[in-house]
Amino acid sequence: MSSGALSGLRVVDLSGITAGGRTTQLLGDFGAEVIKVEGPRRPDPFRHWTGVTGESGGDDLGSPPFRVVGRNKRGVAIDLKDPRGVATFRQLVETADLVVENFRRGVMEKLGIGFSVLRSWNARVVLLSISSQGDDGPERDFVSFGGTLEALSGLMSVTGYSPGEPVWTTSKVNFPDQVVALLAPGLAIDAVMRSRRTGAGTHVDLSQRESVVSLLGSLLAATAVTGTTPQPAGATSADETTLCCRCQGDDEWVVVTVGAAKEWQRLTDAIGRSDLRVDPRITEYSMRQRRADALVKEIEAWTARRTKHQAMVELQRRGLRAAAVLRAFELDAETPARGESFHVRVPTSAGTSEQQISWPFTIHSDNPPEVRRRAPHVGEHTGEVLTELGFTCDEVEKLHAAGVIAGNMTVGGSKSAKS
């Protein structure tokens, strides 16, 4: 058992790819025991993901994103299409607080492991279902990925260079999956705490599409109030002008936000262009917003002679809201300025370690989050986990020989289990 804050929380993880996998990864980082269950012949597709770079990365730990979402989990391979696999899975569920899944709707029931079945096995189990559009409704069975949900949620309609150029975050980011994986762990923990109090498990149905719409709630409400539909406007927003200006170097940028007249004065002073303050085309805030493109060109005459960090520092010194547009690989070097690291070292199967993003929040206690193990190979801990459940050596071998389970049947280097 870990010493983390969520020590004692046992999770059976049926999820694949990002939204569910990242949810259970966070639970594991904070000390929950996470057992990832995969099909022996159909493991998590994220192990061979080509969606980001077009390359799958080789073996079952070759995919870089899988190595992140798989950390702090043990891996068990069970064929849930075989009744003996379901019977084995049942024993896992009987010991669990939480089951997490993000199958297509109906798959759990088809496998014979829908919530009513899980609850008959374990009255206090919580099922967290993460799906594209929720558990019911006419489009619950529609197929989607993060990108399509950005379209369906309205996010793409307010993100882009202009109304004719909607932009999505692409599979490199896949924004809907990421925000859901921030919310879902909290919902799961709350449900587990309730089930422990009441003795009754619950089914939490989390819709990814609704999650993204809810993050546009204030814009949605404003649409209802004003009758005006928000449009994408580059880096800027409706009531302040954010200018994204090119700096020295390739693809280097600084953003500066100018709202009040006082900020406009500071900016024109900073770039040595007090003449702009009397330019009749941009004296008013609304004029500046309409002419943001032209303003960027004026300001770039100043920013292009500076690095993005120099520009940020000089503009901040003038009392302006400004920041360098950093890229991920630059964040580590910013650790002293931030006063905190965003990274953690994670062991690899080659015996080395690699740097990964750590956690979205910290807790100050005796139980900080940590990485205790790398992502598992398919079924790497099948023998170990089944042994803990009380399976005998013979039972494990029979299931293995029948192809119901797969992976590593040894426990700590020796053959499992009780005889």
């Binding site: 994103p65 379209a151 692409t170 490199k172 209802a224 991920a328």
Partner: protein
């Protein structure tokens, strides 16, 4: 004044008027927490410091199910009642001191069971703490902004206050972790996040591809899925290699039989030509038609809906996700519910 202990639901004191704290409090209230919101304004509902003026009033639905008090009138009362509070949510340690007249250290010393949960914009330590800025600046410093947009053009911001809301989601989950731990130990703890930290976490793939393979991911749609123009707007057409046969069936254009389109690599290399062929098909269809026909063939596609169109959406209507709410001074406003159900009930069962 503060909701008294009457159940096992957490009692939360939400301090300030930032989106990140308001949204976190909203989520907690939806799960049944007793949330008391402390504001400094003399009037209510108080505006929030959002980036959009129209939002400031419209986002008053964040105050749902919260009791609101004004700190100037009640700060002494607030501090003396902290013993009844399970969680203090704030936008910074300085806010806690200003609103309650107590430092975080003092609260921890006097109320060891209390969870202190702070979501700042730029962090609580280091030089960043004192930066001037808001949504755009946090997005820039998180690394995520560099990934939004097209190659060769400037990075973009996402619509809505997404960095603040990412911080709210992080804080929400952090509070749950702390409450879980408190169930065992009886002791509270401090949960810290920031808009920058939470948003950087969303861009985790950029970090691992750089650390694991030395690859710097670039923003832009240069491989795989495409956005297609239709007669009345756009559709996000998220086809993958396995859907390619279905795409060919859908479009039924002989030009797609060319060997150069046989592989994903080939389709990416000839992306402009591919899009031209696909759009020669899609431009004659409405978004709805392309959506339906794609889904019939199990191709993940979705129309780019405007916010005004969401109200008429079949799926959202069937799930009763959007609701009309009376907001003081504004009349009826359409707002989203929370995006989950528990045993079929929105929010908390």
């Amino acid at each position: 004044m503060i909701v008294k202990k009457d159940s096992q639901r957490p009692r939360v004191l939400e301090i300030g008027h930032a989106v990140r704290t308001a949204y976190c409090g909203y989520l907690l209230a939806a799960l049944g927490a007793h949330v008391t919101k402390v504001v400094v304004w003399q009037s209510y509902p108080a505006p929030m410091a959002t980036t959009h003026r129209a939002d400031q009033r419209a986002a008053a639905y964040f105050f749902d199910h919260k009791k609101t008090v004004r700190s100037r009138d009640d700060s002494g009362d607030l501090a003396s009642n902290l013993g009844d509070i399970d969680v203090v949510v704030a936008g910074s340690g300085a806010d806690i001191e200003e609103f309650l007249g107590l430092s975080c250290d003092a609260i921890r010393a006097r109320h060891s069971a209390c969870v202190l949960a702070i979501a700042s914009m730029f962090g609580e330590s280091g030089e960043y703490r004192d930066l001037l800025g808001g949504e755009a600046e946090a997005l820039a410093l998180s690394g995520l902004m560099s990934m939004i947009g097209e190659p060769g053009r400037e990075p973009l911001r996402l619509g809505g206050p997404q960095t603040e809301q990412a911080a709210a989601l992080s804080l929400f989950t952090g509070i749950m972790v702390a409450l879980y731990k408190r169930c065992e130990t009886g002791r509270g703890t401090e949960v810290l996040t920031s808009a920058v930290r939470s948003t950087a976490y969303l861009d985790w793939k950029s970090h691992i591809y750089f650390a694991g393979e030395g690859k710097v991911l670039q923003r832009g749609s240069n491989n795989g899925p495409v956005v297609l123009a239709c007669s009345d707007g756009f559709v996000g057409f998220y086809y993958r290699d396995e859907e390619w046969p279905a795409v060919k069936k859908l479009v039924a254009d002989d030009r797609l039989d060319d060997a150069k389109f046989d592989t994903q690599l080939g389709r990416d290399r000839h992306r402009s030509e591919l899009v031209e062929i696909l759009e020669s098909f899609s431009r004659d269809l409405t978004r709805e038609q392309l959506y339906r026909r794609s889904q019939d063939l199990r191709i993940p596609a979705g129309p780019v809906l405007t916010l005004a169109e969401l109200g008429g959406d079949r799926q959202l209507q069937a799930r009763r996700f959007l609701r009309d709410e009376q907001v003081d001074g504004l009349g009826i406003v359409t707002v989203p519910s929370v995006p989950w159900t528990v045993d079929g009930v929105r929010g908390s069962a």
